[in-house]
Symmetry: C2
Subunit: 459 residues, 2 copies
């Protein structure tokens, strides 16, 4: 047995070759031996025209496999491919989806087409889909599966096993959920326990009471945190009256964690979330341009500040060369701090005491870093410019070192205050991106440095 | 039933109050009602002296719970708390750990103390620990659990169930792994299947053949990717001869995904990975200072470039105000690109074809973004400075627009080339942090803008 999954580069290029040479029969022979997840992986690495070819082939050959592939690939691609089909055809494919994945795709269609597709779907699937669509996007209700095992507390193990055997096609249940006579969640039993106790044992006697759960309106990030914290493989979802209405499995949680981490990274770098390298040019342009124009506005403040000090720069021209260093060092210090604070806020909830302690700590840290880097910076620049044959006046070096120190303190404070105030105001702290922190450290850095210079030189 | 997990702020402040008032009995009454995972959550939010108090209390009251808490909290804290104890005492606590978590902690101890602790551990646990310690850090071998279910292919369901009943204390197995007579992995059976087929059925007839697996030396990031791709809750680990040696469960994978995402974010912002907001001041200082000093070096190149053009800046002083904009916009464009490319490279493997296509796409995208932002920037600055009563010469505006355009193209190319060359050279692309990209966009941005100005003005 060799590990088929090791060398995906070869798989991807084989598929490309078959497509380019039009060898559809061989392509299908090749694909039919692969897992749907592997096809999905290859799929994501093809150009869009090749994706269309693969999509058409799977549609005629194995609609079940196509459904799995579509639920694993990039959602935007799946929607684009499906949009070319008639609602009837789309519904046939979506019937094979798990209801949460179907809803995820459907939410990308315009209202009228969505209605049409749902009307064409099988009765059972359309009911599930309609139920999930009631809930807000990014909540537990939207991502839960309505296929789950729930049995009444007084059920005996023997009857539970019989029930599982009857419903063999329901998604693999790792846990069996136990409810009272009113369908309210009261416990959970692992499948293993069914094997450990005598068949006549009642579920309520072996169940784990007080199970961890989430509500239908719980945010998906909170769901992910809970599953991770309690090391679960599935978490039950209840409504306001604690009725069990669905289950979320850990594979969906993994997807969310990856998604949220990507979003954080993107937001911090000032990219609209969701940009993929496969995006066509106009889409990437649309996603990046707004941030660049915003950057133009924020950097404009620096220009204004510098213009205010044209006189002293003209007199001491070396200030022009040194001022970007003061601004940049404050920016680096601010962005380091911002990264630590944003990440911490995304893992934990905000807490005023931690906030206050952090601010105090960062003030001291800023002072220390400022003094060290400022002193080192002044010495370094002194030596470097002496070597260049353009020695700098001691007073300028002093201003330079002081400017760096103050701006580094500023960076640490901004990197702490900005994400915390975002969090408190209910804005995602990841949006306190490098750009915002840099705007403050740049503007203030130029200002403090040039103001110091003006004060010393133009007395 | 109320959801105990909703309001952690209250739990944390209750614990703080009990500790501050020295009410240890009430503190223990309170803690004994909480899950170990919740105690771990509270733990991470306390100052270190309070952590010590909680640690001592748990050690005397419930060593089992203490073990679970220690395996869930920040590793550095756990090590610091344990270091105050004698090797004998440490080994008693570690005996209650799962072997992979024990190894994780042990690897933070100096070699001689590690040996002593292992010697004091129970025979079974110390053997498991020694086995795992053979493998490199951050590999599947290190993180796998050696408690798992493996049965021979010809075992009948009835015997499999009996075996599970006998080994009731082994970690919850979601799957049963099937091996041939040489202990080589050949298949996997879900627990549910044991319930669906007659007791006399052989495992080889119901098992899923050709199971997904990883090798002991597979990198933990690859393990996480595989588990996510195939939607698994556990993955078997084999040695070079395909003998089954361990199992990795999805809860460890969740931790890794979170850890790697945090690392990526930190590296991109230029913070040594692993900084936590609870770190004491000297530790944070040590982690951040090197990057700031590196930033001093990289920004120094900008200063040199500017010094080269002192003449033209003195003549056209508005250049001093405009040059940071040219540099900053290139930086923003570069960092956007870098974030997209780094994230993509961390999800997928590198592929030359995608690399080439990306470079072509980003050249065009850079050209478009450059022209749009450059034009818009020149118009905006023209209007803004007219309003300030300091109109700028048309030729300067042209140089400004051109400079922005060229530096944005530069940003997109650097944001693509730097992380790709890191990946190809085997360096983590996340290290191609904002700092490196900014160094190139700053230096080049100042150079191209001032060179253009010099060419136009000093002809």
């Amino acid at each position: 047995m060799k590990n088929k999954n090791e060398n995906f580069d070869i798989l991807v290029s084989s598929v490309r070759r078959y497509i380019n040479t039009g060898a559809k029969t061989r392509l299908w022979n090749f694909l039919s031996k692969l897992r749907a997840e592997d096809i999905a992986y290859i799929f994501d690495r093809l150009v869009f025209e090749n994706k269309e070819i693969l999509f058409d082939l799977l549609k005629t050959k194995d609609i079940e496999k196509l459904a799995t592939v579509l639920s694993e690939i990039d959602t935007e691609d799946a929607v684009k491919l499906l949009k070319n089909l008639e609602p009837k055809e789309i519904s046939l494919i979506l019937n094979k989806f798990s209801s949460d994945d179907a809803v995820d795709l459907l939410s990308h269609f315009p209202e009228d087409i969505k209605e049409k597709i749902i009307k064409c779907m099988s009765k059972e699937e359309s009911e599930d889909v309609k139920e999930l669509l009631q809930y807000e996007e990014d909540t537990a209700g939207r991502m839960m599966s309505t296929d789950f095992y729930a049995l009444e507390e007084n059920t005996r193990i023997s009857d539970a096993v019989a029930a599982i055997q009857l419903a063999a096609d329901v998604e693999i249940p790792f846990y069996l959920y136990v409810v009272d006579e009113n369908n309210r969640l009261t416990g959970v039993v692992s499948l293993k326990k069914l094997l450990l106790f005598p068949p006549s044992t009642k579920l309520k006697d072996i169940m784990l009471k007080d199970p961890i759960f989430v509500k239908t309106d719980t945010d998906q990030e909170q769901v992910a945190k809970k599953v991770a914290r309690y090391n679960l493989v599935a978490i039950p979802v209840v409504d306001d009256e604690l009725h069990l209405v669905g289950v979320i499995t850990v594979d969906d949680v993994l997807d969310i964690i990856n998604e949220e981490a990507t979003e954080d990274i993107y937001k911090m770098a000032g990219v609209v979330s969701g940009e993929r390298i496969q995006d066509p040019l106009p889409e990437s342009l649309k996603k990046r341009l707004p941030w660049l124009l915003l950057a133009l506005l924020t950097t404009f403040f620096s220009a204004i500040v510098i213009t205010m000090f044209e006189g002293v720069i003209k007199d001491v021209i070396v200030l022009a060369a040194l001022m970007p260093l003061v601004a940049a060092l404050g920016g680096v210090a601010g962005n380091q701090t911002n990264a630590v604070v944003v990440r911490e806020l995304s893992i934990a909830d905000f807490d005023w005491k931690i906030g206050k302690r952090l601010l105090i700590k960062h003030s001291f840290l800023g002072l220390l870093l400022g003094i060290i880097v400022g002193t080192f910076g002044a010495i370094f620049i002194d030596l470097a410019y002496k070597l260049l044959g353009k020695p700098i006046e001691p007073i300028t070096l002093l201003i330079f070192g002081l400017g760096i120190s103050i701006n580094i303190i500023n960076g640490l404070l901004m990197g702490t205050i900005i994400p915390m105030s975002f969090k408190v105001s209910g804005i995602d702290p990841a949006l306190s991106s490098n750009m915002f922190v840099s705007m403050f450290t740049d503007t203030f850095g130029f200002f403090i440095f040039l103001q110091l210079a003006k004060a010393f030189y133009h007395v």
